[in-house]
């Protein structure tokens, strides 16, 4: 009798432990935190849009943004802007954007951005645009992007002052 009880007790503990371990296993993947998403209203005639965000990674492992999807665009691509030695800017598609371990990456004008190609309708100031981000390690994540005025230079109300300081005009990187 005692042995049977002990057996049941043991199995209960083992199964509980298993459940806890499995649960831990699934939650061990920390999703990157998407901060300050923003976009600009498209000027009449413009058929493409761009989305900018800050992606923060609280995890000890590096993650990669591999794709983005949006219903109102024909195609969504990850892009960067390269500046050549002659000062010529070149926008290029990238396969992924690395989110460093315990670090962050900023998608901003003149740098990494999510490009919405062939918008089926214009982006209007004040709207909230749903987007899906897919990460290599942590899977997909839905985000909502507030669309600012056509003249927005950063997320609304962030007190961002992109024109307050001179930046280096020297070309940055061209892999």
């Amino acid at each position: 009798m005692i042995t049977t009880t002990r057996f049941y007790l043991q199995s209960a503990i083992v199964s509980l432990l298993t459940i806890v371990l499995v649960a831990c296993g699934t939650t061990a993947v920390t999703h990157p935190i998407i901060e300050h998403p923003w976009s600009r209203a498209t000027a009449p005639g413009a058929v493409n849009g761009a989305v900018f965000v800050t992606i923060r990674n609280a995890d000890g492992n590096e993650d990669r943004l591999v794709s983005a999807a949006c219903d109102i665009a024909d195609d969504v691509q990850l892009h960067t802007v390269l500046v050549g030695a002659d000062g010529v800017k070149a926008m290029r598609q990238v396969e992924h954007i690395v989110v460093p371990a315990n670090g962050s990456v900023v998608l901003k004008p003149g740098s990494f951005h999510v490009m919405l190609i062939g918008l089926k309708r214009p982006l209007v100031a004040g709207e909230k645009l749903p987007l899906t981000f897919t990460f290599a390690n942590s899977g997909t994540q839905q985000i909502i992007v507030p669309v600012g005025e056509v003249g927005a230079m950063g997320p609304a109300g962030e007190g961002d002052c992109p024109l307050c300081h001179d930046q280096s005009a020297t070309p940055v990187k061209t892999p």
Binding site: A46, G110, A169
Partner: protein, 237 residues
């Protein structure tokens, strides 16, 4: 005490001398001012541009010497461009707001390097979204290429991104400032702060001294160097 005899009014000997001194002083001041004006003009004189001819939306000819605004702010871009061009247009519209009344003395013009897709109608709507005062300048592809060459602007068409009509351009992302004498006086860009950009523009707004300067100036050796051979061919699509 016995008073000294007064000189007769018309024969005070120092009177003429004082007058001459006064005139000399005025001359000195004028000469140094003129020297300052000439130096200023010398500092601001920049390379004369190779001529270009574009047209605005109402068919008026715009050249490096004949353009609206005491300063013409020229940008080469295209509406398909999702990042650099809108960012520069936003930058320019903010500058115009910050300049206040001085903005009326300048004209921002957008030259599309993509005349195939950028129709005048599309450009009009596009520019109005940033600032109603901005104008589009266009022309034949050859005229646009020639204008780009004047500023050493480079643009190269890139392969389509997705569909057949989704090609883009690698391009120089700068704003060129031209005065009424057909000279490029400075460059602007989104890498500059608003304060620096405004300072550059105000520095080159014609003042009375600067307008007078060319009349008081003899051509110098430096001027002869400025009229040297044309620049190498660069900006072709």
């Amino acid at each position: 005490v016995k008073k000294l005899p007064k000189f007769p009014r018309h024969s005070r000997p120092w009177r003429n001398g004082a007058l001459v001194l006064l005139v000399l002083c005025i001359c000195c001041v004028l000469a140094s001012f003129l020297g300052f004006v000439v130096r200023q003009a010398g500092e601001h004189a920049t390379a004369r541009l190779r001529p270009f001819v574009l047209v605005d939306s109402s068919g008026r000819t715009v050249t490096e010497r004949q353009h609206p605004g005491e300063l013409l702010l020229l940008y080469f871009g295209f509406t398909f461009c999702p990042d650099a061009c809108p960012t520069t247009m936003v930058y320019l519209s903010r500058l115009m707001k910050a300049l206040g009344p001085d903005a009326q003395r300048m004209q921002v013009a957008f030259v599309s390097i993509d005349p195939e897709r950028d129709t005048p109608e599309r450009l009009r709507g596009y520019l109005a979204a940033f600032d109603g005062r901005f104008i589009a300048l266009g022309g034949t592809p050859a005229a646009i290429a020639a204008a780009a060459q004047s500023f050493e602007v480079v643009y190269r068409r890139t392969p389509p991104l997705a569909g057949p009509d989704t090609y883009g351009f690698d391009h120089t992302d700068m704003v060129y400032v031209i005065d009424q004498q057909g000279q490029q006086v400075t460059m602007l860009g989104t890498h500059l702060s608003e304060a620096t950009s405004i300072e550059r523009l105000r520095q080159h707004l014609p003042t009375v001294a600067k307008v007078l300067a060319p009349c008081c100036r003899m051509p110098t050796l430096a001027d002869r160097f400025r009229q040297l051979p044309p620049r190498p061919q660069t900006g072709t699509p």
